[in-house]
């Protein structure tokens, strides 16, 4: 193409163009033909996908798997900072580009069916286009500052899309909550970024990597900078303690949940850590923080997901848990391990969400207690959903197995405690996913709707994603994926596929996953054990999990209401009303100033000013009254005065002559 790979800019600019077209041309002028908006978005994302594939192919061919794209100068301050806009294209970028464009394309196609007839069709596709732009820009950005810009833009689109049905108070509140909670994380990101800039003078990720590797950037500066950046990741990727927004974000349309809160934006935090990985590598404290937070979140979220009744809530907590896995993988095994799991997770989680959406389309509800027996009516949805669930549970040879296994191997090496937690989570993951399947698709239908399978426009993306969910894991069978990231050896296909069983760990994880599936089968399908009985037996645990560990109540009830509103803000408010306003209104002010000063002003005005004015008038009147007596009307008097005047003149003439 034209020189120096400038076409790569188009990857995120084309969806931006589609956003502009939809907002400025289609919405005002083609209001009655909403489907065009869908076609435009799909065309734009498909183009981006093609360009991303081209990038992938090109990058594969390059040494060090990197492409050069020159920077654009943005801010140049004489003798000060220069801030550039630029793109970095390496293996990480190429993989992320594929993930984002593929999932986005599937979701856009699916949305044509799901959002059919919705009043905000144009708005939906405009927001979707903008989101795709922002996500692609985030992935391509080469400096922390530019990444932050797209980071915020992605957050904005998330807000707009969660609150898509804004006339529902729960949706509006969820959107607000998402934005505010991620904002707390973003504050950490900004602080870390600026702290690093203050100490290094650059935002550029490549330069920062160099400084971290060479040891120029080290010690506390590096640690705090890295932790700041991780704070942003904690917010966006919904790790504990900033995880509270993601379950509520399920208020948005299901395709939104699939794209944003499963596959892409939620993964942005993981991506950020991966992008700045050298900073973490060289700071043991930061790395440990990432591992601990990730590992804890994995089991924490899975435990909550065990007992939820809303299908999307289960999937949301599953996402949080898997993101924890990714963080753990990054911390213990490096970029390749974490990103591989992200790659696979994007496909099967999107698949599961879209499947849930398909179920919702038929049963008009998300509550699993009102579902059941859907496997007979919706075979395609059922089949693809099962594939996704198996992949998530980590069953060989589906994709989830490969990436989860890698994480388990690495965490066993580096973080044994967290490894134990991760293994327990494997069991939980399998259990809750198959609980969902048995409740939703198994048994008999408990609801009242008329059931039908979803249209092709919705099921075809499901099938495509299912194929990917099966096959994406095989990319690393030969170690190719890891090699793409610059480490790991490659082996042959057969050796990769089956040789894995030479080690004990995959056996252990498979047994645990199988046990989880079997337990779910026993409780929910065959009903050998009663779910209610187990719940009563472990009622304390059940309450803990069901109420989400009361974290939301902690945040809203105690921190917001008592500490902030009741405490700090109340202090500010009292200070303002008592001290400041009170001071102004007290007797001192009123009595002294108002009475004396203003009283003096008043009397001065009345007596002095008015007196002067009236006095002038009165003087004029009196003078007039007196002077007019001169006008007697008698001629001789006038003559007399004239005579006097003449005499006076004569006298003056003699005196001064």
């Amino acid at each position: 193409m034209f020189d120096q790979n400038q076409y790569i800019w188009l990857i995120f600019l084309i969806p931006l163009l589609s956003w502009a077209i939809i907002s400025l041309i289609l919405k005002p002028f083609f209001k009655d033909k909403p489907k065009i908006a869908g076609y435009v978005t799909i065309a734009a994302v498909a183009t981006s996908l093609l360009l991303s594939i081209w990038v992938l192919v090109t990058v594969l061919g390059e040494p060090h798997h990197e492409l050069e794209v020159p920077n654009i100068s943005w801010v140049i301050i004489e003798g000060g900072a220069t801030i550039n806009l630029g793109i970095i294209v390496d293996s990480l970028t190429a993989v992320m580009l594929i993930v984002v464009t593929v999932v986005s394309l599937m979701v856009q196609i699916y949305s044509q069916g799901y959002m059919h007839g919705d009043a905000g069709y144009h708005r939906y596709y405009a927001h979707m286009s903008l989101f795709t732009t922002a996500m692609l820009g985030l992935v391509l950005a080469n400096s922390l500052l530019l990444m932050f810009v797209f980071w915020e833009l992605v957050g904005l689109c998330s807000y707009l899309l969660i609150g898509f049905w804004f006339h529902r108070p729960s949706a509006a509140n969820a959107a607000k909550k998402a934005f505010i909670v991620t904002r707390i994380g973003d504050f950490g990101f900004l602080a870390g970024m600026i702290y690093l800039y203050a100490n290094t003078g650059t935002f550029d990720t490549a330069e920062l990597h160099q400084m971290a590797i060479s040891g120029v950037l080290a010690g506390n500066v590096l640690t705090w900078g890295a932790i700041g950046i991780f704070a942003g990741a904690v917010g966006k990727s919904a790790q504990f303690p900033l995880h509270v927004w993601l379950p509520d974000a399920m208020e948005g349309p299901t395709p939104v949940s699939a794209l944003i809160h499963a596959a892409t934006m939620a993964a942005a935090g993981v991506f950020l850590v991966a992008r700045t990985y050298p900073l973490f590598e060289h700071s043991a404290v930061a790395l440990q923080t990432v591992a601990t937070v990730g590992g804890f979140t994995a089991i924490f979220a899975a435990s909550i997901g065990l007992v939820q009744n809303d299908i999307k809530r289960v999937l949301a907590y599953s996402t949080i848990s898997q993101l924890g896995y990714m963080m753990l993988g990054l911390a213990t095994g490096g970029v390749a391990v974490g990103i591989f799991h992200l790659f696979n997770h994007a496909f099967f989680k999107a698949l599961l969400f879209l499947g849930a959406g398909s179920v919702n389309h038929a049963t008009k509800t998300f509550d699993m207690r009102e579902m059941g027996g859907l496997r007979k009516v919706m075979p395609r949805t059922y089949a693809t959903f099962v594939i996704g669930a198996l992949s998530l549970a980590g069953i060989w040879p589906l994709s989830g197995f490969w990436s989860k296994d890698e994480i388990l191997v690495k965490s066993l090496e580096n973080q044994p405690v967290l490894f134990a937690l991760a293994m327990i989570t494997v069991f939980m993951t399998a259990f809750y996913m198959f609980r969902v399947i048995f409740l939703t698709f198994g048994g008999e239908y408990r609801g009242k709707e008329h059931l039908h399978e979803s249209s092709s426009v919705m099921t075809i993306p499901l099938i495509i994603l299912a194929i990917l969910a099966c096959g994406s894991g095989l990319l690393n069978v030969t170690g190719g994926f890891s090699a793409f990231f610059g480490h790991g050896e490659t082996y042959s296909v057969v050796e990769g596929l089956f040789g894995i069983f030479a080690h004990p760990l995959p056996w252990l994880s498979l047994i645990l996953a199988g046990l989880g599936i079997f337990t779910a089968y026993a409780v929910y399908s065959k009903k050998w054990l009663s779910a209610e009985a187990i719940g009563k037996r472990f009622s304390a645990l059940y309450k803990l999990f069901y109420n989400k560990y009361w974290v939301d109540e902690l945040y809203e009830g105690i921190i917001v209401k008592k500490v902030l509103m009741g405490g700090i803000f109340r202090v500010f408010q009292l200070f303002d009303s008592k001290v400041i306003d009170g001071g102004i209104n007290t007797n001192f002010v009123q009595g002294f100033i108002v009475r004396n000063l203003f009283g003096w002003f008043k009397s001065f005005d009345q007596k002095g000013v008015d007196g002067a004015v009236n006095g002038v008038a009165d003087t004029t009147l009196i003078a007039g009254k007196t002077m007019r007596k001169v006008q007697t009307g008698q001629l001789q008097l006038y003559g007399l005065i004239i005579g006097l005047g003449i005499v006076a003149l004569i006298v003056c003439l003699f005196l001064f002559g």
């Binding site: 008698q634 007399l640 005579g643």
Partner: protein, 103 residues
Amino acid sequence: MSIGLEHYLILSAILFSIGLYGALSKHNAIVILMCIEIMLSAVNIALVAFSRYIVPLQLTGQVFAIFTIAVAAAETAVGLAIIIAIYRSRETIDAGKIDLMKW
């Protein structure tokens, strides 16, 4: 002693003063007019005296006096006409009572 300029001038001054006094202190309007005539005549005497004693060949003062006489005549005529008109409407020619233009 010969009659010099001063004599005529003193005479003129006396006449003028008498006329002035009368003009300021008489009630009757016609008497006031008469006193004005006296004043004008006094001035005429002074003019002619000056002419005779300072530039006798030029007769300037006499010329001036002619004009003064003419104007005096005109003024007397109009003044008397006014007095008669006032007398007709007010039945009085008391200068002290003709004071409508007062405060």
